[in-house]
Symmetry: C2
Subunit: 222 residues, 2 copies
């Protein structure tokens, strides 16, 4: 039973909107291999643990937050021989979309964790490819699902939501048409009755996530 065996890990692509930019949580590696390089957080899957459970546990360890605040899904699995110089390691990557946390990176065995721009170069292992796949998945999912709300706090304005789309897609959207589209899409967002005043301008209504699981009609990238 030793042939065809591999170590199994989960790696996390944690995305958030922070300081008006799309960012990913990276960890500065303290030990070889790739010592001193940025890497995705992750760890071994325990013997009695399902893959999703391992991803949730790692998310809690790295950020201290519950996945119900955002969104967590399996991304893809990477197992090229030699991707880890220590031996055969197959990693199941997970993608999380998270609100900007007031309490960031609480844990943690991750002493040097930071929210970094998504174009950070020189990542450890094949993490550049995993990150690129995660970002592309997030971009595509924003079109057909209401997952943009996973980047938002429990109550948010239409402008907050628009900023999510603009930063993830790296584009600009017409605020007036965007407003009409998201407020008229079935069950996407629901008004809470409250409103929020920013520094300037008219106060905006606050919304929370609606029950929709698919966006109809979709919001297509320009």
């Amino acid at each position: 039973m030793t042939l065809n065996m591999a170590a199994v890990t989960v790696d996390l692509v944690l995305l958030t909107i922070r300081q008006a930019d799309l960012r990913v949580l990276l960890i500065r590696r303290g030990i070889p291999p790739f010592e001193g390089r940025w890497a995705l957080p992750g760890g071994f899957v325990h013997d009695d643990e399902d893959l999703d459970e391992a991803a949730i546990r790692e998310l809690r360890e790295e950020t201290g937050i519950d996945p119900s605040a955002g969104h967590l899904e399996q991304l893809a699995t990477y197992g090229t021989p030699g991707r880890d110089p220590r031996g055969r390691v197959v990693t199941v990557a997970y993608l999380a979309l998270l609100p900007d946390l007031p309490a960031p990176v609480a844990g943690s065995d991750a002493a040097h964790a930071e929210w970094r721009p998504i174009d950070e170069p020189d990542l450890a292992f094949d993490h550049h490819r995993i990150l690129a796949d995660g970002v592309e998945r997030a971009r595509a999912k924003l079109e057909y699902t209401p997952l943009a709300t996973a980047f938002c706090p429990p109550e948010f304005t239409v402008a907050d939501l628009r900023l999510v789309y603009e930063k993830v897609w790296h584009t600009t959207l017409d605020p007036r048409n965007f407003h009409r589209k998201v407020t008229s899409a079935d069950d996407f967002i629901e008004p809470t009755g409250h409103s929020a005043t920013r520094e300037r301008g008219r106060p905006a209504q606050l919304f929370r996530r609606g029950p929709a699981t698919l966006l109809h009609p979709p919001l297509l990238r320009p």
Copy 2:
């Protein structure tokens, strides 16, 4: 290095349109566990082999065809403890969309392979869930990608392509509007100049796959 280790397999969800129905290739298991039950084809990933390579090898072994004839992509990974009674087995599932093969199931260690309806009950392991995920992925991908052509032979008619959509989505589509939509979508299909006569009716133009990787505008499920 023995903790957190698992056997790694690939399982294949091979879909085709056969006898005017969406079908999946299943294998009748000859040995325990689940002896006598239908299962997805699959096998162990070799020590020097990438995951995609293992999937391609298994596809060749099970069907004798090259994946370039259709489409092969990673689907998802399943690793619930206890999913295989023999021990910890993590399986990376792949989804293939294939044309109806004149030479089916050539291989093979799979003595009892058959193209079965996709609602086949009582599959081995957690293969019911994997199959359901594969079918749903195929349904979704037909909306936004030109992958319906992967179910077709190198030359096909618009009616052939429409049948793919109708069988995968389990619905009916207006032949006239479908024709206009697929012939006007950018780079989806290209006329070969040939035409084909069926038993009845006017001969139809033959097409081949175009270079598009995304379908614009998309073909949404009714």
